[in-house]
Amino acid sequence: MGDAGEVSTETLTSGPELRAFLHGLPGVDQVGADERAARLATRSIKTSAKAQAIDLAISMVDLTTLEGADTPGKVRALCAKGAHPDPSDPGVPKVAAICVYPDMVATAAEALAGTGIGIASVATAFPSGRAPMEAKLADTAMAVADGATEIDMVIDRGAFLAGDYLKVHEEIVAVKQACGDAHLKVIFETGELVTYDNVRRASWLAMRAGADFIKTSTGKVAPAATLPVTLVMLEAVRDYREQTGRMVGVKPAGGIRTTKDAVKYLVLVNETAGPDWLTPQWFRLGASSLLNDLLMQRRKLSTGVYSGPDYFTLD
């Protein structure tokens, strides 16, 4: 994400101009996109490729806890897990980031000090985004002040669906500014945007407003991440780089629970945006229970026998 800070958000267009631009993007045929995603999901990733994919997936996990019942103890446990996912095997890579609510950032920052693991905080009145702008910015600024290196903001879906793209744009720009050096992930909540045309428009809107990452979902709305939605977003970041030279990352989040799921996402990245995105710098998987399944499959590959949940920590 190195150059993200230098990128100027594009000259703010007027509402009608922004609208004309977004509505001028090529449409997405839902059936065709679903078909393409489903077909890529039939890729058979075996043996050495699977081993490679599992380690890559582990390193891309934004290990997440976003519960009302979160406590410092819970967050510390998660941080420990993220740094050493499988205590019995030091060869297992650490995760990309730990993702928590803003009030848990300080705890996480302390627990993760020196690990190189990112501290991601949701912000802007997550998950609904229904709060005054001042509150959203304060939310962001405080998380950053407490040590967040990544901010996962939600867009105002109401404004988006009402066609007030300029408002969404301005919010992203403002939050980006509040992020300072922290990287900004923009969550669309695609389950509420519903159509792939909207997902494509939201992707371009966010990228033009300065997003470092675009992210599917909060995990609080069903459906959360899906393969076709992620496909559309990957096409968007691919095309955006083509046009501007700037890379934007993608993060599907929510509903990714198995190794099989994770591998499908990696195939999607590989064959859509391309191998440049196959790094934790540009692709993340927002998940919680996924990590243990990845570890279990990793064990199966290395030992040749199926493992069981008792051999992996529940954190």
Binding site: G27, D29, G32, A33, R36, T42, S44, I45, A49
Partner: protein
């Protein structure tokens, strides 16, 4: 980072290829009296089995067996009983689908992903669909009690061996006909397993007869006086020969022949899906598809952008071992077909079109051709007019909808066409004007037993699939 997919071969252990195969006549496997031939694996040129050739006497035997079965058993049988036999066959196909898919890929060279996910599900679906018609023919719009024609002689191609068998046999049997079917000489194996399936289903002897051999066997079958109906899928050239052969005989004929489909992309198309549709249109089954979208007609205003995306997408196509589950493009079916593809591609270059293929390592042995596109193609080029029947796309441009229609229709063929635009009224406007039997709008190469398929003009006549497909096998 590079993400290399490790080899993921489908197991061959589900198939048991015998060293030699005979004909299937009157419910028995029997020898043939012609010179036997070999069926090879086009991905490595290894011999798979030796196959009997039916000579004149063998064909005669098969036609007689079919006639007897028609008169004594199948013709008089109530439709509901015929239906149950067809349902049985459909179920057995599902049960043996992996075996059939692997065998199809070995014999044909097509990727296992396609034989597994496209061919075999459609084969079973076709039998299920027509099974249900067998006792409802009086409701199909052809009169209260439409009668079968008798014995159908059916000759099928090598591009979708088992699927074309299903398209031929299922409606024929549902309508009360019996059949003598000749599979293509390069892909006879799944038809012979199908013969075994007929036995497992306890289909009465003689209802289905399979005669193997090359073109000569086909000629004998088509010219046999005991045949009431001829159904052929293959080249336009052979289709014309057949039409001449049966001239004046009163035999009923349906022909599914060649094509040179235009896939028309407007500047407001859903571009990423259009790219997928173009790829699926021409690289599906190595382009060995009569309805392949072999002419890309792209609106000039979006041509550059579309081609860039198309090339990037083509670069991700995985060409190689048909049995690898990740293979997108398999082997060319035969040396002969490969030579034809090469010859026409060279003609394209010689005529001045720009040839492009993604970097692509092809196996040393076997018959292979990299996915290829030609830009700057003119309507007058051979590669814009002749059916290549391979993974070769000719790209042309147009400026207005009327020009797109004019170019799309400017061919003696008329099997299929594609239209890509987000504008509904334009889709219908185009669909009305395209002279083709199948128009895929915002999709391509979709097939379904309920959907009639067949061509205009020199792409043949008659329809297969759906209620319309019954007409080919009823005396109406």
């Amino acid at each position: 980072m590079d993400f290399e997919y490790a080899p993921a071969p489908e197991s061959r252990s589900v198939v048991d290829i015998r060293p030699s195969y005979g004909l299937f006549v009157g419910g028995e496997f029997t020898g043939g009296h012609g010179e036997p031939f070999k069926s090879i694996d086009p991905s490595n040129e290894e011999t798979l089995a030796e196959i009997a050739t039916a000579d004149e006497a063998d064909v005669d035997r098969a036609v007689k067996a079919a006639r007897t079965a028609f008169e004594k058993v199948w013709g008089p049988m109530p439709g509901r009983e015929r239906a149950k036999y067809l349902y049985r066959i459909a179920r057995i196909i599902q049960e043996r689908s992996r075996e059939l898919a692997v065998l199809e890929s070995i014999d044909n060279g097509k990727p296992i992903r396609e034989s597994r996910d496209v061919d075999l599900p459609l084969v079973a679906a076709h039998f299920f669909y027509y099974a249900g018609w067998a006792d409802k023919l009086g409701h199909a719009g052809f009169g209260g009690d439409p009668r079968p024609l008798g014995v159908a002689g059916q000759v099928i191609p090598w591009n979708f061996p088992l699927l074309m068998l299903a398209w031929k046999i299922a409606p024929a049997l549902a309508c009360g006909n019996t059949v003598v079917l000749k599979p293509a000489e390069t892909t006879p194996l799944t038809a012979l397993v199908f013969a075994d399936i007929c036995r497992q289903a306890e289909l009465p002897p003689g209802v289905v007869n399979i005669v193997t051999g090359a073109g000569e066997t086909g000629r004998l079958l088509v010219g046999h006086p005991g045949i009431d109906k001829i159904a052929f899928t293959g080249s336009t050239e052979v289709g014309k020969q057949i039409a001449r052969t049966v001239a004046g005989t009163g035999k009923r004929v349906t022909l599914e022949l060649g094509g040179k489909a235009a896939n028309v992309v407007f500047d407001d198309a859903p571009l990423d899906q259009a790219v997928e549709g173009i790829v699926n249109g021409i690289f599906f089954n190595q382009g060995h598809v009569c309805c392949a979208g072999s002419r890309l007609l792209v609106q000039e205003s979006v041509a550059e952008e579309l081609l860039a995306r198309l090339k990037a997408r083509m670069a991700t196509l995985r060409v190689g071992d048909p049995l690898d589950k990740n293979t997108d493009v398999g082997a060319i079916n035969s040396a002969e077909q490969l030579a034809k593809i090469r010859e026409l591609s060279q003609a394209g270059e010689a005529e001045g079109a720009g040839r492009w293929s993604p970097p692509c390592e092809l196996p040393q042995r076997g018959f292979w051709f990299a996915p290829t596109l030609f830009t700057g193609v003119a309507q007058s080029h051979r590669i814009a007019r002749e059916e290549i029947f391979g993974p070769v796309l000719s790209v042309l441009t147009f400026r207005t909808p009327a020009e797109a229609v004019e170019k799309a229709n400017n061919t003696p063929f008329g099997l299929s066409a594609g239209v890509w635009t987000e504008k509904g009224s334009r889709i219908l406007w185009m669909a009305e004007r395209l002279r083709a039997g199948v128009v895929w709008a915002n999709t391509f190469n979709k097939f379904d037993p309920a959907s009639p398929f067949g061509g205009y003009k020199e792409s043949g006549f008659g329809r297969e699939g759906g209620r319309h497909g019954l007409e080919a096998y009823l005396d109406v």
